[in-house]
Every structure is written in C-alpha cells, then in structure tokens.
C-alpha cells in the first residue's frame, strides 16, 4: 500500500516536472488580459475574397463587443491566420493559435475538410471551436465533441429548404450534377430526402471531380434526358464554370437550374449572364434588411466600416460565429470552457438575420434559410438577388440529434 502510493507520488511529480517544461505557453494564456479568438480562414487561394469578408465581418463583432465595454474591462481580440484552404496547414495554424498565442476560442474555416481538421485539433486540446462552413458531419458523432459548435448551415438544412421550394414549383423530373466530395454527397442526400416525400423522379445523378474545369462532356447527356430541374451541387469556381457552360449549351431553355448555395461573391465575379434565373439557397443576403431589423443594423455597421459595400453570406457567418462566442463568454462571465459551453447551449439570439437558437444536444445553430433568385443588374451593383422565400428557423429541418448519434 505504502509502496504503491510512493510510486504514484513520484510519477505525479515527474508529470509535474514535465508540465513545468511546457509552462511558458500555458502561463501566457492564463495571464493574458484579452479574450483571444483564433480565426483561421483561407486568405490565399480561390476563396480569398470570401475569407477577407469573413475577417471584415468578424472584426465588427469584435469592435461591437469592445465598444460595449468588453467583459469586465477585458477586451476581445481577433487573431487572423491564413489556412490556405489546406487541412494540414489549418491544423498547424490552429495548433499555433492555441499553443503559442493562447487563443481562448477558435472560429472560422471555409471548407468541410478544413473545418473538420480544425475541429479535431481544437477538440484534442479542449478548446471551443465555432465552425462557420457547411457540413453535416461536424454536428454528428464521431467528429462532434462538447467543444464543437456550428454556426454555419448544414447541407441537409440548405438542400432541404431549396428542394422544398424548387420541387414544388418547377417539376418532378430531376438531374443531379454533383461535385464528387462530401459537400456534394451531403447536399444531394438532403435534396433526395425532401424529394422522396414530394415524389420526384431522379433521371440521373452524375458526379464530376472536384475542381473540374470542363463540364461539356456531361452536358449533352443531361440535355438528352430533358429534365425539369438540373440541380448543380457544387461550390465556388466549379459552380461558376458549370453554370456558364450549361448556359452556353442552351440548357436553360428547357430546364430550371437550381443550386443549393448561391454565393454573393461568386455572383459578383461571374456576372449576371451565367447566373440569370438560377435559384438557390443562402444563409444571408443583405437585402433582407427591409424586413429584418438586426440585418439593417449589421449592414449599416458594415457599410460604415467598408466604404459602403455590403456584407456577403459567408462573411456574415464570420460575424455571427464570433459574436456567439463573445456572447457566451459574456454570459459565462469569463472564458472558462465548461461555463461558456453551458451558456451557449440552448442560447436564443437574433444577431443579424432573425431569431436563431443553438440546439443544446449538438450545438448546431437552428437558423432561417433564404431562397434567392439571381436577377439582372440594376442601378445598384450590390442588388443581385431577389429573396423569393424564407424558411424560418425550425429544428425539424435539421437531422435529428438521435440520427447524428447523440444520446
């Protein structure tokens, strides 16, 4: 008895000694007098524009918090890092943010692979991560953990909202053209889930490699199937190019083109012609400010800080993600991980697009989805979409916590 106790003690002292070696970084984290939010986003690479907007929006949340006096005089600080859209780089940067910079929370990312990587690193170190990109898996086990939060939409939610609208309006004969990776697969699963209930007929479900630059080889076949709806399930540049080529092949004459997500930035970049008449979903469009007061306030604040421009969809998620974390810290009265988690679970808020809630069981933000249609350019170059329908926040539209593996 005595012996084992001794052994245990010496082992403990060894542990303590080895912990001492690693002290500097830990000490720095504890004595820091600011709330640090690490923000890895892909500043370089194809989503640089979106990432810069995420930073601009996140900064608004930070300055709002600080102007309101911070937390007992403690100010918030945003630590922006370039994840280069690479999961390995993102993991390294997140480790750096936590170990060297002593970040209290992590928020950010713009791809499923990157957010899952960041999540794994943060969860290993018990640091709260609020993800702002599309993914079903992040809210489900085994990726999810107590420290995982997801302010972004899930493909199931997005595709469900768009599908409910489109399949009811434009016809039941559907062709899917999806990018061959998780985003595509999850979105198509979401479309099919609502489609089954509405009795759609899937004529073809085609996959293309991620990052393809030519869709001409797929388009003649799609054309010959004569679908009512072509659902283009891809993202960013893939979406721009495939839309353009589908337009060139004259597909729009016979078929309605629908995309799960229409990006404000992509629409700005690719021009009106390719996007004309295309329907899709979004987490945010600045135009909702006519009906949503918080959106008006957020837009105004953004316009003031950014020469009259308006925030983009993914950018606004950066605002919401950071603001949610700061709200959690405020309610918890500090940055203690367990207390902040408790404060965030079940939190109801309206930051910028109407009422939302953080579902307690999986930390997924229950939120409205907007269905938008691209329109021709008018006098206002920012005015590129019509909001044609709104799906209010409803937890029933999400995958249930049970199906995600939560008990």
């Amino acid at each position: 008895m005595e012996m084992t106790k001794k052994a245990a003690v010496s082992r403990r002292s060894l542990l303590a000694a080895s912990a001492l070696l690693a002290m500097p970084s830990i000490v720095r984290a504890q004595t820091a007098d600011t709330i640090k939010i690490g923000f890895p986003v892909p500043l370089t690479g194809p989503y640089g524009t979106e990432a810069k907007d995420q930073v601009a929006c996140a900064q608004i949340a930070i300055s709002e918090f600080n102007e309101a006096g911070g937390l007992n005089g403690k100010k918030a600080e945003l630590l922006v890092r370039d994840d280069k859209l690479d999961p390995g780089e993102a993991a390294t940067r997140t480790i750096e943010l936590i170990e060297k910079d002593g970040a209290n929370f992590i928020c950010g990312s713009l791809s499923a692979a990157v957010q899952l990587a960041v999540n794994n690193v943060a969860k290993q170190r018990g640091v709260i991560y609020n993800s702002i990109s599309q993914s079903d898996q992040i809210a489900a086990l085994p990726d999810w953990s107590k420290t995982t939060f997801h302010e972004g939409m899930t493909p199931h939610l997005t595709a469900g909202a768009v599908g409910r609208y489109a399949f009811g309006k434009f016809g039941k004969k559907v062709v899917f053209l999806q990018a061959d990776y998780a985003y595509g697969h999850e979105m198509v699963a979401g479309f099919k889930a609502v489609g089954e209930k509405m009795g759609i007929e899937v004529l073809a479900d085609l996959r293309h490699p991620l990052g393809a630059t030519d869709y001409s080889t797929l388009l003649p076949r799609i054309q010959s199937l004569k679908p009512d709806i072509l659902v283009l399930v891809n993202f960013g540049r893939d979406q721009q190019i495939s839309l353009k080529q589908a337009t060139d092949f004259g597909l729009k004459k016979t078929t309605k083109i629908v995309a799960p997500v229409l990006l404000y930035t992509a629409r700005q970049a690719a021009g009106e012609k390719a996007f004309e008449g295309v329907i899709g979903g979004t987490s945010y469009y600045w135009g909702i400010e006519s009906t949503v007061p918080t959106a008006k306030a957020f837009n105004d604040r953004y316009r003031k800080a950014n020469e009259g421009r308006v925030p983009s969809d993914y950018g606004a998620l950066g605002y919401a993600g950071v603001r949610a974390l700061l709200e959690g810290a405020r309610r918890a009265g500090g940055t203690d991980t367990a207390k902040v988690i408790a404060a965030l679970e079940g939190l109801k808020y309206d930051f910028y697009k109407g009422p939302q809630e953080i579902r307690a069981c999986d930390h997924q933000a229950v939120q409205p989805v907007f269905i938008i249609e691209s329109k021709a350019a008018g006098a206002n170059p920012n005015d590129v979409f019509n909001v044609i329908s709104t799906d209010a926040a409803n937890a029933d539209n999400l995958v249930s916590c049970k199906d995600e593996g939560h008990v």
Partner: protein
C-alpha cells in the same frame, strides 16, 4: 447506361475533340520547349493563365476578340522572351533541375501578380457574340464556340508545321535542336533561335488560355490545374514530338469525354491511368525518341 444513343456518342466524341484542341495547343508549346531547349516548363500553366488575363485586359480597353487572338499571345510571348533572355538563358546545359525550379518559382510570381492586379476571384469572360449559341453539325447541336476552338487549333497546327518544315527559320530551329554546336559553327546565333522558340512556346500557351477563357472564365488558378494534364499529354505523345502532342492531345480529350459518359467521377484519374499504361508499354511515349533524358 440508359439514354446513351449513337448520336450522343458522336456528340461526345466531338466534345472530346474540342477539349483536346486546348490540350494540343498547350502540349505543342510544352513539347517545343522541351524538345528544343530541354526546358521542362513548370510555368506553362501560368503563361496559359496570363493568356486569359491578357484577353481580359485587351477586351476592357476596347480591342475586339479577333485582334485579341493575335495580340494576347504576342503580349505573353514577349514576356516569355524576357524570361528566356534574362533568366532561363543562364541555365542551358545544366540539366533539367534548374529550369524546372526556376520556372516553378516564376509561376508562383506570375500567379500572385495576377491576384494583386485582377483580384483573387477570377473574372467573367463572355463568349464573343458572333460565336454564341449552338450550330447543327448533322448529329445534333454543338456550341459554336467549341467548333471555333477546334478550327483555331487546326490552323495553328498547320501553320506551325509549315513554319518548321517549310521555312529557312524552321530549318535552323530544327538543326539547332539536333546539334547546336554545328549550327553555331555555321555562324548562326543559336541563342537567338532559342529565344524565338521560347517566345513561340509561351505564346501558344497564352493562345490556349485565351481560347479557354470564354469556356471557364479567367482565374488565377486556372493554369495550375491544367498543368498536370498538359504534362500528361506531352509525355504520352512523347516529349519533344510535335506530332505526338497533337495525337495525344486529341486522344486525351476523347478519353476524358468518353469516361465522362460512362463514369464521370473517373474522368480525371482516367488521364493518369492512360499515361501509366502508355508509358509502361512504350516508355518514350507515342512518338518520343527513346533514351531521351535518361
């Protein structure tokens, strides 16, 4: 595999040829640089991308598309000349590693310069009005612009062939590639020959990029994704062989198109599988000289 009719197959074949036309132009330039200068040009994709952006720039100052077809390759080709004259020239005869590393660095610089000047987002590039819509090609309707791309590729291939085989300049270039020493002894400035070759090679890449722009828009990354494919085409055809570049370019285009019909998600890997098979059966590619570079 329902819905695959003979007409669709024929249409798909055409789609493959249009795709291949772009590969042909890229691979011609790459093969020229390799065959004549033994430069493995990692910046070839960047020159391709510059071609598209040169087009964007020229269109924005009011030059029409037809003049762009001439001016953009000339503009980018001149940049190629500068690169050769001031950077790559120092590296001849020092193995393939050094030009490879240098052009790799160059491509980084060029891509980033474009990002600074034109933004990271990429820019739209509309199909010229005269070439919009689809044309009836007996088996069905086919986008007119893609037919045009095939046409341009044919013209360029014929012109290049005539230039190399039927003009005194072409003779010097071919001689210079085979034995620079002798050509120099004959009193010809080989350095200038190589300069011109580099200009032609990069100009061809720019033309390919310009032609691709109406299909996919212009973006800073457009060159990096196609670089590997261009390498594959060049190698399958046989490094340094222009006939090989044409045959392999069209073949790869058709293989991609046909794979897309049967199993689209395999389209990208099909290219590499094709290369592996070809090289295992014929290690020097279709028309390559055996023992080159070993």
């Amino acid at each position: 595999m329902d819905g695959i009719t003979p007409d669709l197959l024929a249409l798909q074949l055409f789609t493959g040829l249009a795709l291949g036309a772009i590969y042909v132009l890229l691979a011609l330039g790459m093969s020229l640089l390799f065959g004549m200068l033994t430069v493995v040009n990692f910046a070839h994709g960047a020159f391709y991308m510059l071609g598209a952006y040169a087009g964007v720039l020229l269109l924005s100052i009011g030059v029409n598309f037809w003049f762009c077809l001439l001016l953009a390759p000339l503009l980018v080709g001149s940049l190629g000349l500068l690169c050769e004259r001031f950077l790559i020239r120092h590296l001849y005869g020092r193995g393939i590693d050094y030009p490879l590393l240098l052009t790799f660095g160059l491509s980084y610089i060029m891509v980033e310069m474009v990002r600074i000047l034109f933004g990271t987002q990429g820019l739209p590039f509309d199909t010229p009005d005269a070439l919009q819509g689809a044309s009836d090609i007996m088996i069905g309707y086919f986008p007119t612009y893609r037919l045009f791309v095939i046409g341009v590729a044919i013209v360029v291939v014929v012109a290049l062939w005539l230039f190399l085989e039927r003009t005194p300049y072409g003779l010097i270039i071919r001689a210079g590639a085979r034995d620079p020493q002798i050509v120099r002894i004959l009193g010809i400035d080989v350095a200038r020959v190589w300069l011109v070759v580099f200009g032609i090679g990069t100009g061809l890449a720019a033309l390919a990029g310009l032609l691709a722009a109406p299909l996919q828009g212009a973006s800073p990354e457009m060159g990096s994704s196609i670089l590997a494919e261009a390498f594959v085409v060049t190698v399958v055809g046989g490094m340094g062989s222009l006939v090989g570049a044409v045959v392999a370019g069209l073949l790869v285009g058709v293989v991609v198109a046909m794979t897309s019909l049967v199993a689209p998600e395999f389209a990208q890997v099909a290219i590499f599988a094709l290369m592996a098979i070809v090289l295992l059966i014929r290690p020097q590619g279709f028309f390559g000289r055996a023992g080159l570079m070993s």
